[in-house]
């Protein structure tokens, strides 16, 4: 309990969990009158209070204001995803969630991930979802009021699910908060050593800064790394056989995609392979599954069976062979 208290009063945490549970429970769609708006408000209130209450004891270490904006938008949109009776809207709200999450990623200095998220998720996956939703939902006929399907309008066992969910939340937050203060803050990076891995980038920067001698190239060592003296921030440049020390421009450092790329490709090459295979298999699977052939076979079988049954029945009734039926 002591460790949790550094972050939040546990009773407040559990109280807000209950409140949030109540809100979500109310917000879930159900038959008849469902106080969805009220529920959403309560849930947002609980979430917001939770976020505000955390670390209130030490205002200096609070995240910046955009965190609150993005996280509340993300959570509110997520709540809307699970509460909105229309799948299309749910998917669109999910897009909102993705965008807000991307905002959080930005705050976390994960710009590449933020945009990748928007592009891949919001741009690709969600569009696929929308397509499927369109495919799988009958459009209302002319002059017909669109009726929501029953399985969209009524949540299933909202209370039980909410209880289980928020129980899990309470337990997991407790568990997480108990461990968080024990985490050791890692030492700050001493030098941007990753820059040495990118001699071309240094070259381009020197070139842009005009400090690169004509025809000069950054000197590479055996491992194709730029030779940099980090204490003076000078890189050895070879120009026409002669070496010279050139200072690296101040603003130059490895960008987020740089680092990510290095991490991804240098540290996890096998995982990439596996991911590739997964994607390939998914593609094949999707192709196989959505082949029209399957359906035709099924339909054909069914038709055949029906016609056979009809033929037999016919034969039974008027004692004739059911060849005509078989031909159908």
């Amino acid at each position: 309990m002591e460790t949790i208290k550094q972050i939040i009063n546990p009773y407040m945490l559990y109280g807000l969990c209950v409140l949030g549970a109540l809100g979500v429970c109310l917000a879930l769609p159900r038959r008849g009158i469902s106080p969805q708006v009220l529920g959403a408000l309560v849930a947002s209130l609980a979430g917001g209070l939770l976020l505000l209450a955390m670390g209130a004891a030490n205002p200096g270490s609070l995240p910046n204001i955009y965190f609150y904006v993005f996280s509340l938008v993300a959570l509110g949109a997520a709540l809307r995803v699970i509460t909105h009776p229309r799948p299309v809207y749910a998917a669109l709200y999910f897009v909102l969630t993705v965008i807000a999450t991307a905002g959080l990623f930005l705050i976390l200095s994960a710009e590449f991930m933020a945009f990748a998220m928007i592009i891949v998720y919001a741009g690709a996956i969600l569009i696929t979802y929308l397509f499927v939703i369109m495919l799988a939902t009958q459009s209302p006929q002319e002059g017909e009021v669109e009726v929501l399907t029953e399985y969209d309008t009524a949540a299933r066992e909202p209370v039980a699910a909410t209880v289980v969910g928020f129980l899990l939340l309470a337990i997991m937050t407790t568990l997480a908060f108990r461990g968080l203060p024990d985490l050791k803050t890692p030492a700050p990076l001493q030098a941007d050593s990753l820059l040495a891995e990118m001699p071309r980038k240094i070259e381009r920067a020197l070139d842009a800064a005009g400090t690169l001698p004509e025809g000069g190239k950054v000197k590479l060592d055996d491992a194709n790394r730029a030779v940099v003296d980090w204490t003076t921030r000078q890189v050895t440049v070879v120009a026409g056989g002669s070496e010279s020390q050139v200072a690296i421009p101040d603003g130059l450092k490895a960008s987020n995609p740089d680092r990510l790329g290095f991490n991804l490709l240098r540290d996890h090459p096998g995982t990439i392979e596996i991911a590739g295979v997964i994607l390939l298999m998914a593609m094949l699977g999707a192709v196989v599954l959505s082949r029209k052939q399957v359906q035709i076979d099924e339909e054909a079988k069914m038709k055949q069976a029906n016609s056979l049954a009809a033929a037999l029945a016919k034969a039974k009734i008027d004692n004739r062979t059911g060849e005509g039926g078989g031909m159908e």
Binding site: R156, E157, A160, A161, V164, G165, L167, L168, I171, M172, T174, L175
Partner: protein, 741 residues
């Protein structure tokens, strides 16, 4: 050897007989009885078997009756022969005729480690006395029944006589058995026969119910009797009379020395238990309720079983185990009070009844009460004498009633019959009835009933502490005289008048009876037209003969009562020569001494000698009773149904109604015992079904229910799995949380 051993074991009576004889010989003082004594029970058994065969071969003649009469007569002869043998052996001698081993086993060589209850017959004068009138009366009544039951020839006839014979066999076992277990066999055997014969008209629900009631009420008594036997065995290590009486000696010594409080409690308890058995069989309070209902049976059965013989088994039991009763401080007074109260209660009920057979039944209960009182006031001779005389005159009364019933199509209501004695062919019946009534009422000097009743009354007043019983009995004597002659004056004399019964009992389920059985009578305008043809059908020769013999016998019963040899009157000598008077005089004196201290002085009746005073007083009381009956039911009677007595009835108010309804005893028993038991049984049945079995079913159901409740979670529903997974994670994480706390 192997192959033959089982055969030899089962081989039969002969070797076993020797064994038993050998065993019996070991007992001190046992004299081998005459083999002919064994015929007394065996001949009725033979008759039973033959009648059974008749039934099996569907004999449609009177053959079973003749078989029965012949066998019973032969049995009577065997008893007579035995009695003569016994007289030769001398007064007070005891003989044992062993037949074969029955329940006989041992688990050691010490005393009390050998249980022996054999088929062996204990013959002493008490046995002979009882057997004489049992077999004698049975023969006569069988003869009577041969005519009485004639309308059932080919149907129930064989059944009737088979049960009749079986009854006599059982009664013989009861009386002659040489041990208490054999007595118990006879005891229940007569109960069975009573059951079968009461339920003879098995299509009548009332008869079936009465039979069942008789058996069950008797069983209550039987249980106590059985417990008494067990206690007897635990204490004495034997159930055979000879050994019991031999071992009762030390206690009798204590009694004689006045050290009553040193007599072991167990011994004192034995008579208390035996007594309840006697109350059941002899229809005493509180177990008398079966006897009046038992009148559903054919009249000969009522006469023999429910008046003359079986119901006196209780008296016999007490007389037989009299030494044991003497040992207890409480047993005899309880017997006395129960007897007296029963006598009074039954007499009051009898006064208010209209069914003449029922009146006789209550009179029987009442007279049995007399006999118990006789035993209680240390007058076992009087009790035995009353049993003896009562057997004759009560049987006769029943048979007379039966003749009336037989002749008037089942009519038993004394308001619907009048002047029967003066009708053609009914003379013998009338005379027999008159004789019986005189005896029952205790008409002075000339009737045997007077003398035997007198003995009991005398003893009651002569015994210190028993005067209260004496007064009750005296009152009862007056009531008895009244209700007896009420029947006589209403039914047998007066203006001739009769209404036939609705149906003869016996005819209700037999087609041929309907035509001639349904009679009409001029006065009975309300009846069916065919009643006009009704003629009372007068008794035939067999009935008349039997009634005649009995009428004579009822008077002749005085002879053994009053005359005899050196040891006093015959009957008294016979009783005194048996266990009923076993050390009796000394013991009673000792008991008196222990109770009061003033030795041998008899109590007196207002200063007169009680016995002599009673001769006068009881005669006067009897006269008064008869006189009242005359005034109310003969002198004042205008028609069959109406008399002055009826106008007096309202004076008694609810008392009369209550007496007419038998003081509601049946209803009270029903309410207090039967109904609660029925409710409890139903509750038990429910408990068994829902609790005991329910628990078992629950144990079987629980696993299935658990499985069933879990089944939906595996129903292929995605959410089910999901929620299970989420819940599972929650639980797992919670465990981690708690463990790492």
């Amino acid at each position: 050897m192997h192959a033959t051993s089982i055969l030899s074991t089962w081989a039969g009576l002969l070797p076993a007989q020797h064994e038993a004889a050998g065993a019996a010989a070991q007992v001190a003082g046992a004299v081998d009885g005459p083999a002919i004594a064994a015929l007394a029970p065996l001949l009725p058994l033979l008759s039973f078997v033959l009648c059974g065969l008749c039934a099996a071969f569907k004999v449609r003649s009177k053959l079973p009756a003749w078989i029965t009469v012949a066998c019973l007569a032969a049995s009577f002869a065997a008893v007579v022969a035995t009695t003569l043998d016994l007289r030769e052996a001398g007064a007070g001698s005891v003989m044992v005729t062993p037949l074969f081993d029955w329940i006989n086993y041992s688990w050691g060589t010490e005393a009390g480690q050998h249980f022996r209850a054999n088929f062996a017959f204990h013959i002493d004068s008490l046995t002979c006395l009882w057997m004489l009138f049992v077999t004698g009366l049975a023969t006569l009544i069988a003869l009577y029944a041969s005519e009485y039951m004639s309308h059932d020839v080919g149907m129930g006839y064989c059944r009737f006589f088979a049960a009749f014979s079986l009854f006599v066999f059982s009664m013989a076992c009861l009386v002659m058995g040489d041990n208490l277990v054999l007595l118990y066999l006879g005891w229940e055997g007569v109960g069975l026969c009573s059951y079968l014969l009461i339920g003879y008209f098995y299509k009548k629900p009332s008869a079936v119910a009465a039979a069942k009631k008789a058996f069950i009420v008797n069983r209550i008594g039987d249980l106590f009797l059985a417990l008494g036997i067990m206690l007897c065995w635990v204490h004495f290590g034997s159930v055979e009379y000879r050994e019991i009486f031999a071992r009762v000696g030390p206690s009798l010594e204590l009694l004689r020395e006045g050290k009553v409080d040193q007599i072991p409690g167990i011994v004192q308890l034995i008579p208390l238990l035996l007594m309840v058995g006697a109350f059941g069989k002899s229809a005493q309070l509180p177990l008398y309720v079966w006897l009046p209902d038992a009148m559903e049976g054919p009249t000969p059965v009522s006469a023999l079983i429910h008046a003359a013989t079986m119901v006196t088994a209780g008296v016999y039991l007490i007389a037989r185990t009299y030494p044991l009763f003497l040992l207890s401080e409480y047993a005899l007074p309880i017997v006395g009070w129960v007897g007296a109260l029963t006598a009074l209660l039954a007499a009051t009920i009898g006064m208010a009844q209209f069914d003449i057979k029922r009146i006789m039944a209550y009179s029987t209960v009442s007279q049995l009460g007399y006999m118990f009182c006789g035993l209680a006031v240390l007058g076992s001779v009087g009790a035995a004498a009353h049993v003896f005389t009562h057997a004759f005159f009560k049987a006769m009364l029943f048979l007379s009633c039966g003749a009336v019933m037989h002749g008037f199509a089942g009519q038993l209501d004394l308001r619907k019959l009048s002047g029967v004695a003066f009708m053609k062919g009914w003379g013998v019946v009338g005379i027999a009835m008159f004789v019986g009534c005189l005896n029952l009422a205790g008409f002075p000097v000339i009737t045997a009933g007077y003398w035997s009743k007198d003995m009991i009354l005398g003893d009651a007043f002569a015994t210190p502490g028993m005067q209260a019983i004496g007064w009750i009995l005296l009152l009862t004597a007056g009531l008895t005289a009244y209700y007896t002659f009420r029947v006589f004056f209403r039914v047998f004399v007066g203006p001739k008048h009769f209404e036939p019964g609705d149906e003869l009992h016996a005819h209700d389920d037999h087609g041929h009876g309907h035509d001639d059985g349904h009679g009409g009578h001029g006065h009975a305008a309300g009846h069916a037209p065919s009643h006009a043809d009704f003629h009372p059908h007068a008794p035939g020769w067999a009935i008349n003969l039997v009634l005649g013999i009995l009428a004579i016998a009822a008077f002749a019963a005085i002879v053994p009562l009053m005359t005899g040899g050196d040891n006093g009157p015959w009957l008294a000598s016979m009783v005194d020569g048996s266990s009923a008077k076993y050390l009796g005089v000394a013991a009673s004196q000792a008991a008196h001494a222990a109770g009061h201290g003033d030795g041998h002085a008899h109590a007196t009746f207002f200063g007169y000698d009680a016995h002599k005073a009673m001769m006068v007083v009881s005669g006067v009381v009897g006269f008064i009773g008869i006189l009242i009956a005359y005034l109310l039911h003969y002198a004042g009677r205008t028609t069959a149904a109406r008399s002055k007595a009826d106008s007096l009835l309202p004076a008694f108010g609810p008392l009369a109604t209550a007496a007419q309804h038998k003081w509601y005893v049946d209803e009270i028993y029903d309410l207090l015992i039967v109904k609660p038991l029925w409710v409890i049984s139903n509750i038990f049945a429910l408990i068994d079904k829902y609790v005991v079995d329910g628990l078992v079913d629950f144990l079987g159901w629980a696993p299935r229910a658990i499985g069933r409740s879990l089944r939906p979670s595996q129903g292929g529903e995605l959410h089910g799995y999901a929620i299970g997974m989420a819940g599972g994670i929650a639980v797992l994480v919670l465990i981690v949380l708690l463990v790492t706390f």
